[in-house]
Subunit: 133 residues, 2 copies
């Protein structure tokens, strides 16, 4: 995207971060939730693929950089409080590092968290072969 | 719901909170994102309607208590990191306090945040008449 709105109208938290939900554009599937800072959001606008902020590594997390499973961004929305982002994306491959299409595969059923989706891809096949990068 | 899984397996943040995304069960529409603490999540399991934690008021936020626009919870999921919740709900009325069905009505278009949805209900009609509680 060549232009973007004033990002200072968004409410980043005390760590300078804002939660970003990603949703598959054609199915409505919620893929994952991660965090962005102002710079990674601007990078996302610039590149057109989702770039999050890794809170553990304290650096850009260019989603899919290793796996090829990038998220092509079709729209970026915010909510009434401007403290959460919704990215409408086209997910290449799978969103979850476990090889599942989306990260929300644990469902409360009775007194257990039950896996409701199987991996579509072997995680080793995603991350184990640098030649696929 | 009569039972729930071990909530201590979830990762609440340093404030004891976890983000909770709500999605309309039949349309896939993402309604809103709010926060829960352990007690409000347990209350949600117990009551079957979404109960968030109001960070500003520091108390239970029983969604729809004033407006009647409750969220009947059909499923509660968590993600691979167990640090985000996804509530599959049936939203009565509208989710957003502005009268819109969902809160994510501001979309980045060129250099502006553009409203992409109109209110379906007058906010005053939601909150202005205590007799409707």
């Amino acid at each position: 995207m060549k232009q973007w709105p004033d990002l200072d109208t968004l409410k980043f938290n005390s760590d300078g971060l804002i939660p970003a939900i990603s949703q598959q554009h054609d199915t409505g599937e919620i893929l994952m939730m991660a965090w962005m800072n102002r710079d990674s959001l601007q990078e996302t606008f610039t590149s057109g693929v989702a770039c999050y902020w890794s809170r553990s590594r304290k650096q850009f997390w260019r989603k899919g950089e290793t796996s090829g499973h990038v998220q092509h961004v079709k729209a970026i929305r915010t909510d009434c409080d401007r403290d959460t982002l919704l990215l409408i994306v086209d997910q290449v491959g799978v969103a979850c590092h476990t090889g599942r299409k989306n990260c929300f595969y644990l469902e409360a059923q009775d007194n257990q968290w039950v896996e409701i989706a199987e991996p579509l891809v072997d995680p080793e096949a995603i991350y184990g072969k640098p030649s696929k990068n």
